[in-house]
């Protein structure tokens, strides 16, 4: 019996106290990049009977409705159409910032003043604001621009009477988190893949 008892003690498991606790659930949501355009140029302006020397002004607001801060670039889409070749060359455009937006330049800054064709295509896009390397935060922050389109007076001859020009503005946006300014610039200008 003594032997049996000894063997029982040797082979028996040690009793212990234990516990396990779990944290609350940790959740990771991806953010999003989403922009909306508003203003008269977003809705589309129509101006007839322009005379040489006339200027028409429109506004474009870029609102970051996503959750992530963004870099963005605005330019003329490539499908601008004209009834007479060379009519687009008769237009200049002056782009200025609108005080009160996120960047709040006051007085407003001219960020482009030159031929309309100088804004044609992704590679000629105006990125965010001139000389500003601050991304536009999400959550509804906006940047506003005024575009003043002028039909050149001295060089627009009567051969352009009733000529028309139609087109859209495009804005591309990309997240700014974890993307350097240089890489974002290359992506927005040239579509270069971000390494």
């Amino acid at each position: 019996m003594a032997c049996v008892l000894c063997l029982g003690l040797i082979g028996g498991a040690f009793a212990y106290f234990s516990d396990t606790a779990a944290s609350n659930a940790n959740t990771f949501y991806a953010g999003d990049v989403d922009i909306t355009l508003s203003g008269s140029l977003a809705d589309g302006v129509t101006l007839d009977d322009m005379a040489p020397g006339d200027t028409v002004t429109g506004t474009l607001y870029v609102t970051n409705t996503g959750s992530l801060p963004i870099w963005f670039s605005g330019y003329l889409a490539n499908d601008w159409a004209q009834s007479i070749g060379g009519f687009i060359d008769k237009f200049t455009v002056k782009v200025t910032t609108i005080p009160g937006d996120f960047y709040n330049f006051n007085p407003s800054q001219v960020i482009y003043n030159g031929p309309l064709t100088g804004l044609a295509g992704k590679e000629n896009g105006l990125i965010t604001a001139n000389g500003v390397y601050t991304a536009l935060p999400g959550g509804g922050q906006w940047a506003g621009y005024t575009f003043a389109f002028t039909l050149d007076g001295p060089s627009t001859g009567s051969e352009f009477e009733l000529a028309w020009l139609q087109g859209k503005l495009t804005v591309d946006a990309v997240q700014s988190n974890n993307i350097s300014w240089a890489n974002a610039y290359a992506f927005l200008k040239n579509g270069t893949a971000i390494p």
Binding site: I35, E161, A163, L165, Q166, T170, V171
Partner: protein, 173 residues
């Protein structure tokens, strides 16, 4: 052999990681179409279908006087600004142009050449006059030339002076 295969596979994985572009979130928005259309711009002078008209003075005598009027109408669809270019030419052997004085003015408006009190020699009237005269679409304005021949003019057969007005359209000043 297995080792070589493993090394090759590992190298392939490393290379693919090196050359894989960064994933990113982006968005593109496009505006509605914007449309700009030019109007038409043209002026008609004296219902002649062009932007110029001339008047010939001839068969005049000393102390003759009178007035001529050019009517310029904006036949385009947009407002324009009008400038005037004056040409003066004299034909014949006489010197009528030296004995004519003139006052050119916008009817109901400003003087263009000379004045009512001090008309000037018509021979010196040639040249361009940047009036920037506003003329709305479909509107007309009259340009008048009041003239006098002085007392010292001796008529010569065939002597004549032609005064031409050309109306040029300019953009807003």
């Amino acid at each position: 052999m297995k080792k070589i295969l493993f090394i090759l596979m590992a190298a392939a994985v490393c290379l693919s990681l090196l050359f894989t572009a960064f994933a990113y979130f982006d968005d593109t928005e496009e505006s509605a179409g914007n449309s700009f259309q030019a109007g038409t711009w043209a002026v008609d002078v004296n219902n002649g279908g062009g932007n110029a008209a001339a008047h010939t003075f001839q068969g005049l005598a000393a102390l003759d006087s009178g007035a001529e009027t050019w009517s310029v109408k904006n036949t385009g669809t947009v407002s324009v600004y009008v400038d005037i270019n004056i040409t003066v030419s004299e034909d014949g052997t006489g010197n009528l142009g030296d004995h004519m004085t003139a006052h050119l003015f916008v009817v109901g408006g400003d003087s263009i050449y000379g004045s009512e009190a001090f008309p000037l020699a018509i021979n010196d009237a040639g040249g361009g006059y940047p009036l920037n005269l506003p003329l709305g679409a479909g509107k007309s304005k009259n340009i008048a030339l009041e003239w006098n021949v002085d007392a010292f003019y001796t008529p010569v057969e065939g002597d004549k002076v032609e005064v031409g007005l050309t109306f040029d359209i300019q953009p807003a000043p």
